[in-house]
């Protein structure tokens, strides 16, 4: 994931925040990103350190709600703390003002939807799509997954392979018998028997292929479910 994608995803969860607040948040993260790049970290590493977008948004909203509450309780002026000599509480510098593949400013334009409500935290944040929720797998699941995956691979090859082998054997038998009959190397009765034998073999092979494939497929699905912890 790139930083821009990460930022966009975090932003998608901050629908109830004002544009100004979002700008402050991403100014902060952009500065952090630039400092980490200066420290020699890769984009992927930084994104990993920042954390999953949903978790980041959740933490910011939860803590911001508390911060708003305590600020109100203390009667403090959040926007104008004393002593700030360059902008006070306002993050007025450009979020994209760093030199690492900066996106065009147009990307920072806020979508017209979701205007901030009076209580920006009242509605919480939207749930992430299920695909983005990472399931934690324990070591035992992974080890069992690898072992059973290997065994299943061997079993699948054996089952499907044997069905194909039987079918191919039948076809070969039919082919050879037909050739021998054409060359006059065997009698009609013997040839008919061999062709019959070939037909039975190929029929059995083809018939077995479907249930064997279904069985392997079901086993793989079961293993996948187990590994995913579903």
């Amino acid at each position: 994931m790139t930083y821009i994608k990460w930022k966009d995803e975090v932003e998608s969860y901050l629908v109830n925040l004002s544009q100004e607040e979002k700008q402050k948040i991403f100014s902060y993260f952009s500065e952090m990103y630039a400092d980490k790049r200066d420290a020699g970290k890769s984009e992927a590493q930084i994104i990993e350190e920042f954390g999953a977008p949903y978790d980041v948004a959740k933490r910011i909203l939860a803590d911001s709600r508390d911060a708003s509450g305590s600020a109100a309780a203390n009667g403090a002026n959040a926007s104008q703390p004393s002593g700030g000599n360059n902008g006070g509480g306002n993050y007025n510098y450009n979020y994209y003002n760093y030199n690492y593949g900066s996106p065009p400013p147009a990307r920072h334009e806020e979508p017209a939807a979701a205007p901030p409500c009076s209580d920006p935290f009242a509605k919480g944040i939207p749930m992430p799509p299920p695909a983005r929720q990472k399931r934690k797998r324990n070591a035992a699941q992974i080890v069992f997954g690898i072992i059973f995956g290997f065994l299943l691979t061997v079993l699948s090859i054996a089952l499907i392979g044997s069905a194909i082998a039987v079918a191919v054997d039948g076809f070969v038998s039919i082919g050879f018998t037909a050739g021998a009959l054409a060359a006059g190397q065997c009698g009609g009765a013997e040839g008919a028997t061999m062709i019959g034998y070939g037909l039975v073999l190929s029929g059995v092979g083809i018939t077995l292929l479907a249930p064997f494939s279904a069985l392997c497929s079901a086993l793989w699905r079961g293993l996948k479910k187990f590994v995913k912890g579903a």
Binding site: V56, I60, D66, A78, P81, G89
Partner: protein
Amino acid sequence: MYSIRRSEVLSVDAQIKKGVLDACVLYALKDGESYGYKIIIDLQRVIEISESTLYPILKRLEAGGAVTTRTKEFNGRLRRYYKITPTGLQKLSESKRDFEAINTIYLKIFGGKR
């Protein structure tokens, strides 16, 4: 200076955790102004703190008048610097007293054993 494991911090009450984190950030600023990334680097020796955790803390401290901010150009971009105020120093001192009191109670109850 000893290191606090993340699990230890997360297990304590949220308010105590906030108090500890606030005090840690103020501690990181007590010797002079600093910026977000440096605060995290400085605090890593003491406590594990993520960027998304630090942001609301700085916001809260700024709103409470414990820190002030200013932007300064660095390397062709602007960087935000945080400076502790007398209010912040007082808050840090109060936090220290609170933690000492908590520690005294803890020692009385558990005798220093976990």
